[in-house]
């Protein structure tokens, strides 16, 4: 066991997978000697050589496009996109290419590819450095989408992602990067993609969230009246959604709040809400409440904490749902 931040846990997973499988290569802007702008790849160029931890030109579409080629030719590329907003230029290569090769070649060409992306707000970053585009990729067939919130989950899930035979987008909630440490097994381990985690068991209401919002939900939970028994679920995988875990919980509690940073309209909250309605209609005692980002551009940082769901807004959502 080691007491690690999220950044360190990810770094350790990368190092172990590179050690284990020499098909694994990292690439991206500044991932080399500098170790990435968040230092997630720190020390890896020095340890494994710059050809396996390759600085690339400033071209996100290029980074993903050449990663697809690497994957086709038998490598296991792990590109980094420097910030969520800069997935934009890579959208086409991800959604129209990486995601489609297995299907369009009936399995003849496959793309084992793990795209690492720091995601979300709350760190006072400039514009386009605080977005949460997970629903975009969940809507796009052919991709798996993962977003761990803890160092331990991150290490296990990243290991699974790198070993996965299909493309995975691995979102790293940057607000959590150095926010706290956790005991993380030093040996290799995997956590299955597609399994949510019940962070707290409870009977009255289910709260479903992922990424940095897990911590806002925990804070909200602490501020609730003592008699509220809350079940908190950390989704961990965005796509495929672990509907069984969600449904089992809501069948028990009858009430649910979904919390996320992304704009609420067509966000993942809508999908979860719809699934709960479809699966648990007769158990539902209140409509599923969505506490999400507003349908606005993520504001510059002076107002970002007013945009992001915080403990207060989440608490209010929970109480309203309970009161319904």
């Amino acid at each position: 066991m080691a007491n690690l931040t999220l950044v360190q846990a990810i770094n350790l997973a990368l190092a172990q997978e590179m050690e284990r499988d020499d098909r694994v290569v990292l690439l991206g802007e500044d991932v080399g000697v500098n170790g990435g702008v968040f230092r997630v790849t720190e020390g890896l160029a020095q340890r494994f050589g710059e050809h396996r931890v390759q600085n690339t030109p400033l071209d996100e579409s290029g980074i993903i496009g050449v990663s697809i080629g690497l994957a086709m030719a038998g490598m296991r590329p792990v590109p980094e996109i420097q910030f969520d907003g800069f997935l934009g230029p890579a959208y086409d290569q991800i959604v129209n290419h990486a995601a489609r090769f297995r299907n369009r070649t009936r399995g003849a060409i496959t793309i084992p590819l793990t795209i690492r992306v720091p995601v979300g707000g709350g760190i006072h970053a400039p514009e386009l450095h605080s977005d949460s585009p997970e629903a975009i990729y969940a809507h796009s067939p052919g991709l798996k989408v993962v977003m761990p919130s803890t160092p331990r989950d991150a290490k296990g899930l990243l290991t699974s992602a790198i070993r996965d035979p299909d493309p995975v987008i691995f979102f790293e909630p940057k607000r959590v990067y150095r926010a706290y440490r956790e005991e993380v097994p030093e040996d290799e381990y995997t956590i299955p993609i597609g399994k949510a985690k019940v962070v707290n068991e409870g009977d009255d209401i289910t709260v479903i969230t992922w990424g940095a919002s897990v911590f806002q939900c925990l804070e909200a939970m602490d501020a609730l009246p003592e008699d509220v028994s809350l079940e908190l679920i950390d989704l961990r995988t965005i796509d495929p959604i672990d509907t069984d875990t969600i449904a089992a919980s809501v069948e028990k509690t009858g009430r649910c709040v979904v919390v996320h940073e992304a704009p609420v309209t067509c966000g993942l909250g809508a999908e979860i809400s719809s699934r709960i309605q479809e699966r648990c209609f007769l158990n539902l005692e209140a409509p599923v409440q969505r506490v999400g980002g507003f349908d606005t551009i993520m504001p510059y940082y002076k107002l970002e904490l007013d945009y992001l769901p915080d403990a207060q807004r989440i608490g209010k959502g929970i109480m309203e749902c309970l009161a319904y």
Partner: protein, 379 residues
């Protein structure tokens, strides 16, 4: 150094076999032999002929409703054929657009796969084991990055004598990913040949509206990638350029750029009517540069070809193409469940449920759901 020249460059054009089938001996001979033997030229001619005949039949299939949109390769065959020959089958990787049927076939793709693709069947892309190809690329300009990545894998794994080649049109050079593919290839210094089939048009957009540069080849100067412009209707020039480019890539580890100057003699696809935007005169000028006619003249001059051979070839081509069509049309219909079968190595619960129920909502299908008034009436 107040005012100094810090960079100079130039682009050469290469033609070896002219429009009348006359060979430039000085360029064609190496070590006393022509760079292509008569046998090789005959092979290329036959491949081009068969490809052209397939094009004609494919056109009719579309017109009679037996196939969807199809892009003819007509007029451009020398590029794919001679380049295909210059690349090493089974070790090099071919990353095509959709006017390289002949190269794909030469590198191991059964021809009926190509028809299957245009018949709306993914099995046309199911590259057979051992054939080093990506499928036809319908989106324009995005696949060259994949070729760069493939070449990079060769370099990373230190696999000598391997090279990738990617084909694309003049229109494709406008996409951002063209720029990225070239820049990554040159900064990473990987063995990939960029082959632009400059056929003067991107659907109805003429080259002058696509780019302001007099040559496509000069686009390589941005990236310090060596480049040449060749007569793309000349099998000798194409062959020599690709062979030399391949040698360069393999020896020096870096990329190479080739512009093949050619012309699409047909419509853009069967959905297009080129008379709306280009003149008959232009087409007839280019018809005079047809690679098939030119190659045949050369062979006839060499007495390596005659009417008898031609007759035999035409019959053979008919038979081959007939079989290709039969193979494409004879395949069993895909099953509806095939929509799902290759989404992931392993299907998740949601996809399995969708496949098994053909529904996208769980109402009326989940046994745990109680309270259904009755069974659906028209189920």
């Amino acid at each position: 150094m107040p005012k100094t020249t810090v960079y100079t460059a130039s682009i050469e054009n290469l033609q070896i076999l002219d429009e009348d089938g006359v060979l430039d001996e000085s360029l064609a001979m190496e070590d006393g032999r022509p760079i292509l033997t008569d046998e090789q030229v005959m092979y290329l001619y036959e491949q081009m002929w068969i490809g052209r005949h397939l094009d004609e039949v494919a056109f009719k299939l579309q017109r009679s409703g037996r196939m969807g949109t199809y892009p003819q390769n007509k007029g451009q065959e020398a590029n794919a054929a001679a380049a295909g020959l210059a690349m090493k089958k089974g070790s090099d990787y071919i990353v095509p657009a959709y006017r390289e049927n002949i190269a794909m076939h030469m590198h191991g793709l059964p021809y009926h796969y190509i028809l299957l693709h245009w018949m709306g069947d993914e099995r046309g892309n199911q590259i057979p084991e051992g054939a080093l190809l990506t499928p036809l690329s319908v989106p324009i300009g995005t696949h060259m990055l994949h070729a760069t990545g493939i070449a990079w894998a060769f370099k990373l794994r230190k696999e000598p004598d391997r090279c990738a080649i990617t084909f694309f049109g003049d229109g494709a050079t406008s996409e951002g990913d063209f720029h990225g593919a070239m820049n990554f290839a040159s900064t990473l210094s990987v063995p990939v040949i960029f082959y632009c089939q400059n056929n003067q048009w991107a659907i109805s957009v003429p080259r002058e509206q696509q780019m302001n540069s007099p040559t496509v080849a000069q686009k390589a100067l941005s990236y310090e990638i060596p480049a040449i412009q060749v007569d793309g209707n000349d099998v000798f020039a194409v062959y020599k350029a690709v062979r030399d480019a391949r040698r360069h890539c393999v020896r020096n580890g870096g990329p190479y750029f080739i512009e093949g100057v050619t012309y699409r003699l047909g419509d853009h696809t069967t959905a297009d009517d080129a008379r709306r935007y280009r003149s008959d005169e232009e087409v007839s000028v280019w018809a005079g540069k047809d690679p098939l006619i030119r190659t045949r003249k050369y062979l006839v001059n060499r007495e390596a070809w005659n009417d008898e051979r031609q007759f035999e070839l035409e019959n053979r081509a008919k038979k081959i193409v007939h079989e290709i069509v039969a193979a494409a049309e004879g395949i069993e219909a895909p099953r509806v469940s095939d929509i799902f079968s290759h989404m992931f190595a392993e299907l998740d619960n949601d996809l399995r449920r969708q496949r098994d129920t053909m529904r996208t909502s769980s109402i009326g299908q989940d046994p745990s759901q109680i309270g259904l008034r009755s069974q659906p009436q028209n189920a």
